[in-house]
Symmetry: D2
Subunit: 212 residues, 4 copies
Amino acid sequence: MNKTLMSSSFEKSHCALVFIEFQAEWLNEDGVLFKRLVQDKDTFRSAIAQAELVLASARKNGWIIAHAGLDLRDDPTYSLFGNGQNVLGLRAAIPRAGTWTGSGAEFVPPFVPMPGEFIVHGRSGASVLKNSTLDAFLRNNRIDTLFLMGFATHVCVESTLREAHDIGLNTYVVSDACAAFTRAQDEHFHQHILHHFGAGIDAASLVQQLEK
Amino acid sequence: MNKTLMSSSFEKSHCALVFIEFQAEWLNEDGVLFKRLVQDKDTFRSAIAQAELVLASARKNGWIIAHAGLDLRDDPTYSLFGNGQNVLGLRAAIPRAGTWTGSGAEFVPPFVPMPGEFIVHGRSGASVLKNSTLDAFLRNNRIDTLFLMGFATHVCVESTLREAHDIGLNTYVVSDACAAFTRAQDEHFHQHILHHFGAGIDAASLVQQLEK
Amino acid sequence: MNKTLMSSSFEKSHCALVFIEFQAEWLNEDGVLFKRLVQDKDTFRSAIAQAELVLASARKNGWIIAHAGLDLRDDPTYSLFGNGQNVLGLRAAIPRAGTWTGSGAEFVPPFVPMPGEFIVHGRSGASVLKNSTLDAFLRNNRIDTLFLMGFATHVCVESTLREAHDIGLNTYVVSDACAAFTRAQDEHFHQHILHHFGAGIDAASLVQQLEK
Amino acid sequence: MNKTLMSSSFEKSHCALVFIEFQAEWLNEDGVLFKRLVQDKDTFRSAIAQAELVLASARKNGWIIAHAGLDLRDDPTYSLFGNGQNVLGLRAAIPRAGTWTGSGAEFVPPFVPMPGEFIVHGRSGASVLKNSTLDAFLRNNRIDTLFLMGFATHVCVESTLREAHDIGLNTYVVSDACAAFTRAQDEHFHQHILHHFGAGIDAASLVQQLEK
């Protein structure tokens, strides 16, 4: 990566902290996704805790915060995904699992959006930038740098990172505030994928920047 | 236009009827936009009535219906539009008018979405396709033909038509189920603009197709 | 429009001058589009002359220039547009007219791109932003303001303006450096359309800004 | 994955075979990317050979073929990527490596596009769908299913797969006609990533389908 981008501090008005899917499906101990998909559960719980530290610092210091969830509560038959028929990937897997159409779509404290924080709407893909209000929000506010936190690292976080790269944004994945299903998947992502599309920063270093 | 596209009937599973902004800002007699912007009010009321006929027929005959509104009720400061600062166009005009953040964003009967009808989320531009869930819904359901109704013809309907053309959809504007601010603006649109991007159909002809 | 945006001068590094379709189909006296579509030919020729003044000033003063043409010379059967079959609008009209696949796609002096000027690739819609390299270029260079010139005002220039608005850019249409088929179409655009999506500036005022 | 999608045969008119970066940077023994990045060179060479078999069969049997390369030969300073300044990821790495602006951008036989095959323009991201003509081509031709081949599996092929999923396409990655830098990277992709976004098929099975 371009070293100069990291050595300097970040300009507050051009940065957004994006929280991806801090919702009950993942964050509750009985969330469907947490129970079925997450294997290294302690790593996952630790990522939630690190994201909480970042969120608290960002709120205290007035950084721009965006909450990007998935919410299909008004589409119980998954018509958005063709009812899961004749489609491949998550669009079929989500209807099969029955996720995101009920209480699993609720944001979990302290990640419940507060006044003044941006709630992303319209997101339907693995990338939270795809066909959502996030990109218009970024552009209209001259934001060019993202810090991504959330779940799962190698699915939605990575898809967001890849799309952000391709549309011209600089993206930092907050390494220990994201989690994959297994620790090995996280390691693979950081070793083989991340540098092609962005850079990494750990939560402690990020908080240091936010407090400046 | 390609005559063969009109001479044959439309294939139900590949078509969507898109209702644009059938919300209180436009449809209520004291809606801000109806009061301030609409000059030929009878033409406008007539368009609502025609759209109602189409909607009733579509519901009776099981055609695919999508409701594309604008709803900023969780963003009262218009952060999506950079708070209306340093931006041109509707992004500045909407915050100045104070629209879409209150009861004006409510759908008005009979245009309130019913179960099984698709509610578009994430729409933030004049085009209801821009960064919304509509396009994913269309693609996942193999829909390639749109029928547009709503307000205003030369603003959001036309922006949607233009974008639909560019991304590869066939679009019919339901001529008498849309309205501009003035009748002259509608006439200009139909005479000088529409054929570059799609085709027109009147409500009665469309209903005839829906009843087949 | 937001008056403050115009009263101040423009920041060079954040602006791009976009030349739309300064190619032989429009600029040559025997270009197919010039001959068949343009009715007020003197207005059209005058727009070319004004754009030339802007281009000369921009080149002299080092402003960012992008050339957005249409070029289908390697797709003589218009497969990009489904061979013009079963599609509405320009996608059918262009194959019927047989434009953009031959010498009509050549840039015309002095609008031939020079080294250091950006040539937009991949553009296939009426909007030159749609699925082209222009947006990535803008984002990667932190450009947020466009000045549009070219043809035709109410078709490709307007589609670009509308899309630019929706994705979060500020756009100025250089009023006398664009032309529609008729003067009346231009007037309609400036009176009824432009302010919803951007603002206007005339070539002389723009040159004054470029020379600062 | 949805088993029914695989058990049936593919409908020719709705499918496109997409060849990603079969260009000299990767395919020539002295290509910069082949030399610097590819570690398991025999696996890589084998993928080229498998893709060749698929291409020959597709040509013989009249399947739809699209060539998606990267070509920056008219932008030697990488202005598209902000000259590689202040950007993260490939946008900085490509200018540093100096790739795609010279003879490395040439298609290599037999992967040189033939008349009737679609050449994707405007592609600038890791995803060959991002801001290119590919998506308009697909939509205008009612193509909803992709078969991806090329390089590198975990970079551009995977980014394309992920974006294809999010916009509503069904994608098959031709497993042995793609290659990553190492065999382990390929294995990780097939085991941990692919099923979230599409499905796999090997070249022999695909050829069998093409010959039907």
